[in-house]
């Protein structure tokens, strides 16, 4: 990533999109919209002072909504470029309210609320599409209750929970427990505030609120407006403290998730959604189970799948190592349902094909190995570029020319072409680079590729 940022031959146009393409191989003219960040890229040093002071808190997309960021933000800490960006949907100033705190904070004078999008034209000889994939949205599968049961997460969310730079600093804190802790923090804040108000009355009347309240309820002080106020405040305080105490008690029992279920083929190999195998998900479930076990040796994981597809260099060995060393077991079968169980433990209903029995098993956390879906904007991008798509919405290629689109001079690599893992994406990328270089170095060869 760093190498890309500093290579003299690479001009990085981040926060930008291609809007038009004219011409043919060797002579394309491309229109690119550089979206405004409302921050001057040549001035911003990426110091982050603005984000620290910005009062607007927004769910953090990089952390899959499991953490928070500000309305002015860097996409992630090591992101390149490190230029900050104002999120125009959430920024107060850009939505007609008074703010501008970031502009006052920025020492580099980089904030510019009047900065507009910039549309530029580029002349290029060849194009490579590497627009990647989207994570399949599992809320489309009603029987898995992804949106209703908090401790059912996607594999990419689980990656963020495992990450030391993620929202839980690498601890497998369950979403339901995190929600309780957040509620506790908010109630504690309210309780502190109401405690302050009560303290003023207690000082004034030299009595504890509790003993006063007993007398008040006994009918003393009728018609005393000030004491009526005190009583109201005390009642409101109790309405905060009582649920707070019960939540605090509940939180005493919280531990990190140790019993993990991984559900394979969520949206893949499923004729309701994508009939294809997404290829990398068996392996990433094994990886996630191994890492979880490294973090916490008591972790036990069950991977539920029709079969485990470990078809790559070193992959089968990796799978066996998971079973032997990392407390991972593999259960053959498709999970029929995930339901809510006691203590926020999701219950997995599955057929054990070896025992020919339908079973229910409770877990601390369930991880969905979601399909590799074409990106949402793919149809529009393909239309802009004039390239064909396959029936699923990936870029169309042919088996003997796997990085050539149907349009000469335009190539594809990575998950924009089809689901594939990192080693395959890198191999395709080098191959696409080679094909693009042929076009710009040897224009006479550009029309036809020699096929073996």
């Amino acid at each position: 990533m760093l190498d890309v940022g500093r290579h003299p031959n690479i001009e990085l146009l981040a926060y930008s999109e291609v809007e038009g393409l004219k011409g043919t191989a060797g002579e394309f003219t491309i229109t690119v919209r550089k979206k405004t960040r409302y921050v001057e890229e040549d001035k911003c040093t990426g110091c982050g002072a603005c984000a620290e002071k910005c009062p607007t808190v927004v769910p953090d997309a990089f952390n899959e909504g499991l953490g928070e960021r500000k309305a002015i933000y860097s996409y992630f800490a090591q992101g390149i470029p490190s230029t900050h960006t104002i999120d125009a949907d959430h920024c107060r100033q850009l939505n007609g309210k008074k703010c501008g705190i970031c502009a006052k904070t920025c020492q580099a004078d980089a904030i510019n609320f009047d900065k507009k999008d910039q549309v530029i034209e580029l002349d290029v000889g060849a194009v490579i599409i590497a627009a990647g994939y989207d994570v399949f949205d599992p809320s489309q599968i009603p029987e898995y209750h992804y949106t209703e049961i908090p401790n059912v997460v996607t594999a990419i969310e689980f990656e963020r929970l495992l990450s030391a730079s993620g929202p839980t600093e690498g601890h497998l804190d369950r979403p339901s427990d995190r929600a309780v802790l957040k509620e506790i923090a908010s109630l504690e804040k309210q309780a502190k505030k109401s405690q302050k108000t009560l303290a003023r009355f207690e000082e004034k009347y030299n009595e504890s609120s509790a003993s006063f309240y007993d007398k008040f309820q006994g009918g003393q002080y009728e018609g005393d407006e000030d004491r009526q106020k005190w009583a109201d405040k005390y009642a409101a305080h109790l309405a905060i403290v009582e649920p707070l105490e019960s939540l605090q008690k509940k939180a005493e029992g919280f531990t990190v998730a140790r019993r993990l279920a991984f559900i394979q083929c969520v949206g893949s190999r499923d004729f309701r959604f994508y009939p294809f195998c997404s290829g990398y998900c068996c392996m990433h479930s094994i990886k996630e189970a191994i890492i979880a076990h490294e973090h916490e040796p008591e972790t036990a994981s069950v991977i539920f799948g029709m079969d485990i597809r470990a078809v790559g260099k070193g992959f089968e060995e990796y799978k066996i190592r998971g079973g032997n060393d990392s407390n991972v077991s593999y259960v053959r079968g498709r999970v029929a349902e995930i339901s809510a169980g006691p203590d926020d433990n999701p219950v997995v209903t599955f057929e054990d094909t070896r025992e020919r029995k339908v079973k229910n098993q409770a877990f601390d956390l369930v991880v969905l190995a979601t399909a590799c879906a074409p990106i949402k904007g793919m149809a529009a991008l393909a239309e802009t570029l004039g390239v064909a798509l396959d029936p699923y919405g990936f870029i169309k290629t042919s088996p003997l020319s796997p990085v050539d689109t149907e349009t000469p001079g335009i190539f594809v690599c990575g998950c924009a072409e089809s689901p594939m893992d990192v080693p395959e994406s890198v191999a395709q990328a080098s191959s696409a680079a080679e094909r693009a270089a042929e076009v710009v170095f040897q224009p006479e060869m550009k029309e036809e590729k020699a096929v073996a």
Partner: protein, 55 residues
């Protein structure tokens, strides 16, 4: 005729393609929709089958 290349998407595939071309002496424009490059791989904790840290 232009000898430059446009790469759309700054995930691992787009980054690798850009670096290969740039190392051949070709000028590359790398267009990324999001504020930073890195793609999905930047979100991963570690990667199989070596469990090396992702980028």
């Amino acid at each position: 005729m232009s000898k430059d290349v446009l790469v759309i998407g700054g995930g691992i595939a787009g980054m690798q393609a850009s670096l290969d071309l740039a190392d051949m002496g070709i000028k590359v424009y790398l267009v990324e929709k999001l504020p930073s490059i890195g793609g999905k791989m930047a979100q991963l904790d570690k990667t199989f089958p070596t469990n090396d840290c992702a980028i």
